[in-house]
């Protein structure tokens, strides 16, 4: 098991229970959708998986390790094995496409020769070939999304988390992105994607975990279940 959650709860100071007793496990190589209405707790669960926040109670194991008990070095290692696509991209606004993707490799101290070789490869893979020198602020939302995906996957992560990556995309563009995700998944990366995009979920026919008020209400293979 790659990800195992036991009775995860997350409560915020204002007495809001964002997650309530979540128990689930995700295997290596799976492609999982987290669905649910706005406020269901999808983003919160991803934040816990990504260890941006810690659970109020319960345990979360990734590769068999309790993420709440990692040392600084282990935390760094965990992050290096996780790719994250944020809903708001969080790109370097002053940088070009190349800068943004290279940044992910610099951040984990890859040698420069490798960066020069690999960045154009991955940029091509997300369909932005030849546009490395363009400033990301000049790109459309969908194109920026692709840069964010390129950045999240350039270091070949074990797991890719994506929080509503198709949120602002038109149907065609989001279909392209899903094709890319399927490719990345086929290459061995486990993908967990939060979304409330019914069409995308129905098209993909993968495992769907539905949340409601912070609880898992269904966990099935196939399409949208609400």
């Amino acid at each position: 098991m790659l990800i195992q959650a036991f009775n995860l709860c997350k409560r915020y100071e204002n007495d809001i229970t964002a997650l309530d007793d979540i128990t689930l496990s995700i295997n290596r190589g799976e492609f999982v959708f987290l669905t649910g209405q706005s406020g269901a707790g999808k983003s919160t669960l991803i934040r816990l998986f990504f260890r941006e926040e810690l659970p109020s109670s319960g345990y979360l194991l990734i590769s068999g390790r309790n993420v709440a008990r990692l040392s600084g070095r282990e935390r760094v290692n965990l992050r290096r094995n996780i790719g994250m696509v944020f809903q708001d991209f969080r790109l370097l606004e002053r940088g070009t496409v190349f800068d943004n993707v290279a940044f992910a490799m610099k951040a984990v101290e890859r040698p420069w020769v490798e960066i020069k070789r690999k960045v154009p490869e991955i940029v091509k893979r997300v369909g932005l070939a030849g546009r490395e020198r363009e400033l990301v602020t000049r790109l459309s939302g969908g194109e920026q999304q692709r840069v964010a995906v390129a950045r999240a996957t350039v270091n070949n992560p074990l797991i890719l988390f994506a929080d509503e990556p198709t949120g602002d995309l038109d149907p065609d563009t989001s279909r392209d992105l899903m094709r890319l995700f399927a490719e990345i998944n086929a290459a061995g990366t486990t993908i967990v994607m939060a979304t409330h995009d019914r069409d995308t979920v129905n098209e993909m026919q993968r495992r769907v975990i539905a949340l409601q008020n912070g609880r898992v209400i269904s966990d099935t293979m196939g399409g949208w279940t609400l």
Binding site: E52, R80, L92, A107, V108, E109, N155
Partner: protein, 293 residues
Amino acid sequence: MKLSSFRYIVPEAFRSMRRNAFTTFAAVATVMITLFLCAIFWLLGQNLDANAAAVESSVELAVYLEKDVPAARVAELREQLLGLEGVASLTFIGKEEALERMNEKFGSLYYVLGDANPLMDGFSLFAEAPEHIAPLAEQIAALPDVQMVRGNDGTVESLFAFTSALRKADFALMCLLGLAAVVLISMSIRITVFTRQKEVMVMKWLGSSNWFIRWPFVLEGVFIGVLGAVMAAAACFYIYSAVGKYLLQNDLTFILFLNVRQVWLPVALFMLGTGVIMGCLGSALSLRRFLNV
């Protein structure tokens, strides 16, 4: 963290310094002023010490006689002085000759005296060793017809006391200005931290190690310290050599002035070391509560 990662770290530090050039400049200037003043005080103290030591180690004693001592009595005194223990040689200096010497030494300073000669007849006495000076001075001062004895007297002690006070003042000054410099460096780095906050957050999410994130900020502090030190050293030694040249050109050679080549190394090392330490302290101060993944 890998050593080869400095390829990414060093340019980042320079980029930050350029990005907030104004605060960087203020921090560099403060470091420079601090180190410059400290070095000048230090060099001044060293020269005063050297002068005092030269006086202390001198074996010369000037014996001044009362007014109008008859020649026979002078001859008698001469025999008496030669008989004392530790006296190596003795020369009689008449008051005319004494005035001439003064004029030679201080130039126009004594023209103001005109024809009046305030000086006295006396002896110039050389002892065999510096330690004979004090007992000799005491014995000679007690002799009749001797007005006073000048030489290695209290002036040396007070000079040493002065230089030691100077050192303390220098130290206090350094602490005070050094503190200001450290605060300015840390302010400059804090601004960098602030402007790079988003970038640093993303680096953490991407799995950067703590030290890989911290190093550019540390280096920024160190560069500011080193830059300030180098500028201070350049200014300080330039001025020091200029003063030396001035003294030489104006025949003020009775002042013992140490050559730059004799003094520069410890002072320069001190400046560089202090610059680096101030830089590190400045970065440590602004990174203390910051940058834990």
